[in-house]
Symmetry: D4
Subunit: 224 residues, 8 copies
């Protein structure tokens, strides 16, 4: 499994990541880490790899577009000296184009989106052991939906940049598409964006699989 003892993962993102995490830093006691997939990741790492101390820090911010995240990326991500960084951004870049179409600057167009994510990846170059790029998604499996089609454009940017920058790539859109062959999206999120805890567990599992998580291991016993 990728994450070693005393390593730190910082999760950057929007409300899907945030979910009431503490300010200024989403980690530590109580509900500080929030109740998104980040918490599920932390719980599973701790339960299955108890002998490794892995520091999980949630730096999501509700409502962020890639423009907003870039503006705080140096302060909220790079300055924390993470070993690993996970980025899940872009949903609001697209959503605002559809829910408030009269306010054009509320959303972010694909070319700016690419510049923003690229700038984040550049800022991490040579500073971390690895980056996870999670695609933005829309829990609408029908590609005839114009917002889903638009979201795929942003997901494709992620895939392209992931290859270019050699990051770990987590295709959340594909994860949800597969799940919606069994259940309707309404069972995960009425608004097709904010996952309930089932959805958070789905994301966490997809993330951990990219990290070579082993569900069947027996952790070595510490010396007495």
């Amino acid at each position: 499994m990728l994450f070693g003892d005393r390593e730190r993962i910082v999760f950057a993102g929007d409300s899907v990541t945030d979910m009431d995490r503490a300010r200024p830093c989403g980690e530590g006691l109580f509900e500080n880490v929030g109740h998104s997939y980040v918490r599920v990741v932390e719980n599973l790492l701790t339960v299955f790899y108890p002998e490794r101390l892995i520091r999980v820090t949630n730096m999501g911010w509700s409502g962020n577009t890639s423009r907003d995240l870039l503006a705080r990326f140096q302060n909220d991500v790079v300055a924390l000296s993470p070993d690993w960084v996970s980025i899940c951004i872009g949903i609001n870049d697209v959503w605002r184009q559809f829910d408030t179409p009269a306010m054009p600057e509320y959303g972010v167009q694909p070319d700016e989106y690419e510049r923003n994510v690229r700038a984040m990846l550049d800022a991490l170059q040579g500073k971390v052991k690895g980056v996870f790029l999670l695609t933005p998604y829309y829990m609408e499996p029908l590609q005839a939906d114009p917002m889903r089609r638009r979201m795929d454009t942003y997901g494709a940017v992620c895939r392209r940049l992931s290859e270019e920058y050699n990051t770990y790539f987590v295709d959340l859109q594909a994860t949800f598409d597969r799940f919606f062959r069994y259940r309707h999206s309404a069972s995960v999120a009425w608004d097709r964006v904010h996952p309930n805890q089932v959805g958070a567990t789905l994301i966490a599992r997809a993330f951990l699989e990219q990290a070579d998580f082993n569900w069947n291991r027996i952790p070595p016993l510490p010396e007495q």
Copy 2:
């Protein structure tokens, strides 16, 4: 226009109708009528037909299926002696089949749905000047979506019963489908069910058109 001076319309339904209406009776001062399409209907009737006193009563109840509405129909609708009744029910009958599929009795199947609505229409026979039947809807224009397809089954029941019972018929699914050719459903409701005020105005307009509402009239001046 159908509604005459000193006539009463009672609106029955679920959360789409309810929207914080007062208990036990959603009418009168302050926010008593709630903030759904019922309020928009009342406002437009009052502004365009000020010389007619039309009593608007909101008896929606959040979360109701047709089974729940039938159980309170005598007490909450018939006993109010309305001149006109509007029924908009069925969304929860379908939604629960998709968001909580493991709890089968939470939803209502089409045959029971038909029996429930039929029982409401029977209860009104000979007691009112007219009934409006509004189709349940899902703000998903793509019929490939399984919940949309399922909802259409219930809308078809409404259409059939409307013809059989000779009620006014308001095809809300068609109303939304037409609107979504201009705007994405996310601009009306993130969850594709609960309309914002734009959506409430869309429903109100569709309702009033069935009532022969005249947007261009000049109301006769009262005698001094």
Copy 3:
């Protein structure tokens, strides 16, 4: 209809306009636009002209006199680069003269009122496609009432400036006077100032009529 695709209307005013709009900018998602006539205007534009994206921004502020509005006009109105501006101010200029008569500087006298509104109109010269001037009003149809008489003085200033500056003119006092031939003012506002949703709809209709709103149009279908 005056307002074209991708044009912006900014509404300036007092509590009649404000009604819990978001800060700093009253537009966009959720209840951001507040629940005054501005929201009704936005809803009707969207429902009847769905193919035009018209940006509606509410910049009302509860308790404002014309003096207060002028002080923030550059920042809150001009700097937003509107295509259209609607101004409805003056009620508090008059009201304070009657409800707190011992505090003379709380109200604004007619000559200052004229200077204030004139300064706003000057600030918009050459920068917008059109201005709407809405008269301040008192929901008291009897001109023997001293506050109503006083309000008429301010309304007359609006009419005069409207002609001088060639703005659209919405005579809200006349709108309410006409309505009160059918209903008593108590049905719109107990305090004769803050309209309920019926009153908001009345104002919105009066506004839209000045904008050549067409209630009977069939919007052209977008190309598929």
Copy 4:
């Protein structure tokens, strides 16, 4: 002055009387007596007649019409064994006819109003030392206003019954009319019904004058 040592006055009425008095019985410690004119009456009696223990009990109930008050009159007034009773009722009987005209049973017509008040007076016959009848009022001095005209009808019922039953008569409408020659009604109540503390003091003074209150007395010193 009418009220003697160890005598009890019970005030019956609507929200003008109620103003957050305690339930079930509006008297005693803290804010129990509410903050209407009843409290001002109690304060002035205590300060100017400190040697008399006069028990003041507020039994107003917000929103009451004469129909509502009659329904609880035996329990809330007669059963308290008052020495004196003050009744101020009727505003809601009239108001509902103007603010919710489509709900005819919300208001109370003059003939029923007279029957209701008469029934209260009959219930007190032979049981108390005196009754005060306070007219309902509307803080609108212009009799051209239809709600004011209507209110005068109810005030006239009070005057007639007061003579017939030989009660003390407090003409609150006249009290306010006189005050509004100096100040506008907006300085007492924006909604022309619920008085602020200036208005409460006006009512209390009018009440006390009917009770032969002496503002210039020097209370006899108690024996040491």
Copy 5:
């Protein structure tokens, strides 16, 4: 009566004066003036002298000693350009000596108290039409009580300064002492300091008597 049309009275003091008055300035609409004796004064002036517009401003601050009041006197009193000033300060100067005796600097000793009040009077010299000095008090009529005895020392300072500066003098301690010959102090204030509304009315009456208030006048009618 001392206070003329369009004159302003500013009341300075501690919690006895403050009682939830608005910040920064305790005057005008709603509950802005607080609910202390200042409100009773304003009500009685308005009801008995309706033809005079007298501006009443409450600048009390809970917990203030004379040291605290002096520190804000220029800003909160003098800068408001009052015609009349009322000062009621000193209770906390004494109280802290008895309820937190281990914190010596919490209270204010008599010599400093005199300097503080003197500085306030000096600051008003030549700037106002008159000053009212109200004694601090303790609602304990027994002079054997050490806190009462101590309070009398401060009252004596007021009396002496009042004579020296020729201010109006309101002996609140004497007012309460007289009242407690009829009623126990527990009926006015459980803590012997913060008066209920009976106590507020007592203070207001004592204040107004020093201002030659006439309870029996008939205000001249305004010209029509």
Copy 6:
């Protein structure tokens, strides 16, 4: 020390005893025992006599007079099968005679007080190991105060009954009188009734001294 292992003490009283104790039974976890002297008693018993499990139950009720306490004495005290009972009642019997003198039935006269306390003592006869009678008190050391004088009458009833029934007697009035030779009552209670934690500790100490509490013991160590 009187209280043995596995014995139960039930404290009956008014707000001085109650102080937010849990309902229906003031004992056990969290803040269940309230924050009056009862908690201080429990803490000191536990800390100085840790080897004895002594059950402390707070059954005080704010606002109770002896009449109120008697009405619930069987249910709230006797039915709990206490080994020891402490009764502290009477303050409200007296207080109401002074703070709401116009409501005569709010207080309780001495003869009824004696009957009430006697009935409580009779109800405990033969059922408990001992009873503590705590005098009602007023934190006013000057006997010239009429409420203090009145309270002494009730204290004398307690003393007399204590002798007659052979109960433990805790003279709280004397306890406070002694303390007020060092500090003013304002340091314990602004309202001269509800003690702060210093006062609660004073009461607890007076109570424990009557129970032969030994402050200097070394508890025997349990067997390992």
Copy 7:
């Protein structure tokens, strides 16, 4: 894996199970299932076995001892017709013996505990497909601790009954003991009882392993 399509599991227990589940029935939308290990179980079942609809119902109740759970077992568990039942009870039976030792009936002794659990198992005989018995636990790995020793007695009862009734047995004490070889109990629960989400995940994993949960399966795709 044990749980099949359209089967229902009901979880009975105390606060460890409850954690804010909805009343009367902890299942379905929103946070109804609470946020204990029951939610983690539901999430993992849904994510790893999406093709099976498994109904998860949380019927825990904070503070319950085995005595409390037995009293509601018929109504809250048996009457729901579960296919599977999980019981985790006993922590409060023990805890009360240590945190409120003076209230002997607050806890439950081992013999009664055994009778209570036995009665639950008897009530399920022949009605369900299987029962899970989870041991009560104390997150204290040192058996020298008297509360831990006591808890082991109750765990032994569970083990014995589990064998006798042939239930699935989940040894939560052993689960935690093993985990505390890696981390201190403070990282799971400050109070050594209420697990945080890491602890909830530990319990869920231990539960699922007894149910033959397969972490590595690929769910069969549904037919299109």
Copy 8:
């Protein structure tokens, strides 16, 4: 007894000391001193030594480690010019090492702990009459517990520094260990850190014994 008339004790510490004390300074009226052992100390000093005015100031701050306390020591302790200082710090230094082991800088290692406490003691040299050093503790009597063992290391630092700096030494760990021979730690604190009021009384007694508190004295009567 060490503390003399008009001397001040400042208590520095973490949440065990803080317990909702007022900001910026935890002393004086109401609940300002918080509800930790500091309040119990103040109460006992006042009740047993009423003739000495001893100023008790609580400057604890929840969550503080020795690093945090040192950072504010000059401002929050030294600048208050205390006669006596009590320091109880270190629990969070240790706790964070066990409850959030992945965040290494959250805790404080023993060498830094010693430097921090030493710096505080140096800052007080020559400025106070005496210092009390209270050991950090863990309410776990079993030394096999790793957090308890770790805590003992910090307690040993305190003992060593106490001897070196000649401070009063209060061994709270020993105090609790002794008490837990009678009762389980769960009766004082579920989390083994934050004492309930029994625990606060235990700490206060241990503190006062070091100050030669005399529980049996009769305070000398003041001169009349």
